[in-house]
């Protein structure tokens, strides 16, 4: 496909914080990544407001294991505190995703060149991403590599079905929904033979409004369109 990408992401630890434990600060990881976490990783690889990244499916390669660590979080008001964070150990995921154009951004209509963006995305994955990758939280450094989705042996290949209860799917931001508010989406993920098929954000039935929010404006002053960039390079090349 001209807009899809497959890659593998892994690290020593991951912390996809369960929001219930985020409140008090004793963080505990979800057992599987959220849609939003995977989307964030993809956006670290390659991002542009013109595009919306859609994560299709995630394959859990390693066994879901946990390890707790004693952490000294920085207390911004001074002093220090102690907490126990519980991380996922040695996470490894294969991800299949694609991008779509953000129709809520008519201002960026000129930037909708699918082939160009696709090639840039592929190169970015090959290079290990444009920005640094992290699994859930900033202290969990991750690494991205191209892969063929479904290749290799996964730990849960033989496990027919695994339910994870109620989880956060992701966050709706105004520039992707067209509504001027921030919302949280919830869903019930199921892992079949190690693969979690994500539903699309707009398919989530449980959406909870968090607060009002306005989208950031992008225009020619802070975005450079690919075609123009190409043309520019072309000129230089010709000249």
């Amino acid at each position: 496909m001209r807009n899809s990408i497959e890659f593998e992401v892994y690290g020593d630890y991951a912390l996809f914080t369960d929001p219930l434990t985020k409140l008090g600060g004793e963080k505990l990881s979800y057992q599987i990544p959220t849609y939003q976490a995977m989307k964030g990783i993809l956006e670290s690889v390659y991002w542009k407001p013109t595009l919306i990244m859609i994560v299709d499916e995630v394959r859990v390669m390693n066994a879901i294991r946990m390890e707790s660590k004693g952490i000294r979080p920085i207390d911004y008001s001074g002093g220090n505190t102690l907490a126990n964070y519980t991380y996922l150990k040695q996470p490894r995921y294969q991800v299949k995703a694609h991008f779509e154009f953000n129709m809520n951004r008519p201002d960026l209509a000129d930037d909708r060149n699918e082939n160009k963006h696709h090639n840039m995305l592929k190169r970015a994955v090959k290079a290990g991403g444009r920005r640094d990758i992290f699994l859930g939280t900033r202290e969990c450094q991750g690494y991205v590599e191209p892969c063929v989705f479904g290749e290799g042996k996964g730990f849960y290949d033989e496990v027919e079905e695994l339910h994870f209860g109620h989880m956060v799917h992701g966050i709706n931001y105004p520039d992707e929904t067209g509504r001027n508010q921030m919302e949280i989406r919830l869903w019930n993920p199921v892992m079949r033979s190690g693969i979690i098929q994500f539903i699309r954000p707009e398919q989530c039935t449980q959406v909870r409004k968090v607060s009002d929010m306005l989208p950031k404006t992008f225009n020619s002053s802070n975005v450079e369109f690919v075609d123009r960039l190409l043309a520019q390079i072309g000129e230089e090349g010709n000249g």
């Binding site: 294991r65 907490a83 921030m182 909870r208």
Partner: protein, 635 residues
């Protein structure tokens, strides 16, 4: 699935136990609390007639003090000068309308007014029971202290004020020190009162044990709950709460699993500005999940230095504990060990049989939850480990652990207090003591237990530092007492055997260098021991040199062998048997391997198995040996 959801499900599948008082082995009572209820120690019990008149009152015996009382969200977390009455039973300052008249001290407003208004609205709600109305009818008269003074439960001084503190000067009024002063720790005004309804015609269920009362309050309170929101645990739209339970591990425990009073530390601020933006939990789920957790912890958790190790099944709470040793799962004495062919498969099937009780339950959901909780600071508690797994798989893993990390142990006592031997895996706590010594700090013990749990339930390798530590301590017998060393040794063998997969029975075919060196050491030890006789308890040379031997085997072996000579001489021809074994074993070690390279843990296995074999032989062949001795003498 999420741990909260599983706790909630556990509550739902144990609804028949709600409010039932169970007792732990140490006589401590615990209950699966109904929602919107908590427990408190009451001091005075007041009986009210059905018409709402005072009947009688008495001071409650300490053993019977624990009372299940209804509570609201505010009262559950009231502190300091905040006025938040419990709905029914409460302290004197709340329930007595004449508290101030009798000299009670109150801060700011009068608590009684809040209390009686709250009780009134319950008593007049459609969910109220006759008992609530009786109690309300009595209390609205506001003469509780007057009645209690009248029946001589509370004491007043000459001015008709409550006596604050017992003093000799009151002796003219009360010749004996009234009971109330030894029951209530504070003054009389901090006494906690519980109410009961008395009927002359029939025996009524005690108010705090009455299911109808629980339901009445739960239904009444349901209507008062706050706004609805999506519950992150169940996904349903239900009244949510931002006050969650504390006192999870014990009555004095302030740590909460879910808390949100941190608005400056940037735990959630950034994307969210209010705590309720981060997540929302329904009142019902929060109550039920926390109550189930408290109940489970009271029932079956292991607590080490405030760290909670908890294993439970969703439908049936009881599950085999992974941190226990084989003996506690299958306490049948081991006679099988004598058999040479006793293998791990046999042990596995024995343990399987012992675990069958847990297996047989074939209800729809047979799953096991494993959870570790601990708090780094006093206010918050974290989930350090959570696993939810299929029960079959869990039990299979247990069988695997107990049959692979197995050795012959002799440190456990049976019910009669005698030492018994068992073949199997040691308890994780004993592994900690073997690795770090018997006086190891509890913090270290709990850390090791947390690290070992994944090894058991996920069948992972035991961390090398633990194995090394146990190995080193087992190689240093002079540093500890005999029994302790034997315990450490058998645990070390169990851990090393999990990696190596040797049998307990002596493997005479093995040509492994370390194993053979271990055998040599055992023969030297047994030879010297048998020459010393029973009265002599000093350590043999082999044992004293064990530590050096493990690091420089060939050099130390020379020393040991030299020091063996006097004992060989003393034993005379009897030593021939041992000397033959030494020759046989030593000849198996390849010339180039007979060097000073440090020994691996396998040498402990060789040592143990050889020693076991030799002692076994002696027991069986005692008659033969003695007979041959007689012959020798006659010649």
């Amino acid at each position: 699935m999420s741990w909260l959801l599983h706790l909630y499900e556990t509550y739902e599948s144990n609804l028949d136990r709600v409010g039932e008082i169970e007792k732990r082995y140490n006589d401590r009572e615990y209950t699966l609390l109904p929602i919107s209820h908590t427990t408190q120690n009451a001091h005075i019990e007041v009986e009210v007639t059905e018409d709402g008149e005072f009947h009688s009152a008495f001071i409650i015996d300490k053993k019977d003090a624990s009372t299940l009382i209804p509570c609201t969200e505010e009262s559950a977390s009231r502190a300091g000068s905040k006025i938040a009455p419990y709905p029914l039973h409460d302290k004197l300052s709340y329930v007595a309308g004449d508290f101030v008249a009798y000299g009670g001290q109150i801060k700011k407003e009068e608590p009684y007014a809040y209390y009686i208004k709250q009780l009134e609205s319950w008593a007049q709600s459609p969910y109220a029971t006759a008992k609530v109305r009786s109690i309300y009818n009595y209390l609205k008269k506001g003469q509780l202290i007057q009645d209690l003074v009248h029946v001589k439960i509370l004491c007043v001084d000459a001015d008709n004020k409550l006596i604050e503190k017992w003093d000799k000067k009151y002796e003219p009024l009360y010749p004996e020190k009234p009971l109330i002063f030894s029951t209530v720790a504070g003054g009389q005004d901090s006494a906690f009162i519980r109410f009961n309804v008395h009927s002359p015609k029939e025996i009524l269920t005690k108010v705090w044990k009455d299911r109808e009362m629980y339901d009445s309050f739960i239904k009444y309170y349901q209507d008062l709950l706050g706004s609805e929101d999506i519950c992150y645990v169940t996904g349903q739209k239900l009244p949510s709460t931002d006050r969650h339970a504390n006192k999870i591990r014990n009555a004095a425990d302030k740590a909460k699993l879910i808390s949100a009073n941190d608005t400056s530390g940037f735990t959630f601020r950034g994307r969210f500005s209010q705590s309720n933006e981060v997540a929302s939990i329904s009142y019902e789920v929060s109550q039920k999940a926390h109550n189930a957790l408290k109940w489970l912890i009271n029932r079956q958790a292991k607590i080490i230095d405030q760290r909670v190790f908890l294993v439970w099944g969703n439908d049936m709470p009881e599950v085999a504990d992974p941190t226990e040793d084989t003996f506690s799962i299958d306490p049948t004495p081991v006679t099988l060990v004598q058999k040479k062919s006793f293998t791990n498969q046999e042990l596995a099937s024995e343990i399987s049989k012992a675990l069958d009780g847990y297996r047989n339950d074939v209800t729809s959901k047979s799953e096991v939850n494993i959870m570790i909780l601990d708090s780094a600071t006093t206010g918050r508690m974290a989930v350090l480990y959570y696993r939810h797994m299929n029960k079959e798989l869990y039990l299979d893993r247990l069988v695997k652990w107990h049959s692979s990390c197995a050795w012959l142990h002799r440190y456990r006592k049976n019910e009669q207090g005698e030492f018994v031997q068992f073949y199997g895996a040691p308890a994780t706590k004993d592994i900690a003591f073997a690795a770090y010594g018997p006086r190891a700090n509890e913090k270290i013990v709990k850390g090791l237990m947390e690290r070992l749990l994944p090894c058991i339930v996920d069948d992972l390798k035991i961390p090398q530092d633990i194995v090394t530590s146990v190995y080193q301590r087992a190689s240093n017998p002079v540093s500890m007492e005999k029994w302790e060393w034997e315990k450490t040794l058998s645990i070390a063998c169990a851990l090393i055997n999990r990696q190596e997969g040797f049998k307990l029975a002596l493997d005479t075919e093995s040509n492994d260098r370390d194993y053979l060196f271990g055998r040599l050491l055992a023969v030297a030890d047994v030879l010297e021991r048998s020459a010393l006789g029973r009265e002599e308890t000093r350590a043999s040379n082999a044992i004293r040199y064990m530590n050096a031997f493990s690091r420089h085997p060939s050099r130390t072996w020379m020393t040991i062998q030299q020091s063996l000579q006097p004992y060989q001489a003393r034993l005379g021809t009897k030593a021939n048997y041992y000397s033959k074994i030494i020759d046989e074993v030593a000849s198996r070690i390849k010339l180039e391997e007979f060097n000073n390279k440090p020994l691996s843990g396998k040498y402990l296995l060789g040592f143990y198995s050889q020693r076991h074999e030799l002692y076994q032989k002696r027991e069986n062949n005692k008659d033969v040996v003695e007979a041959s001795n007689e012959e020798e003498k006659s010649i």
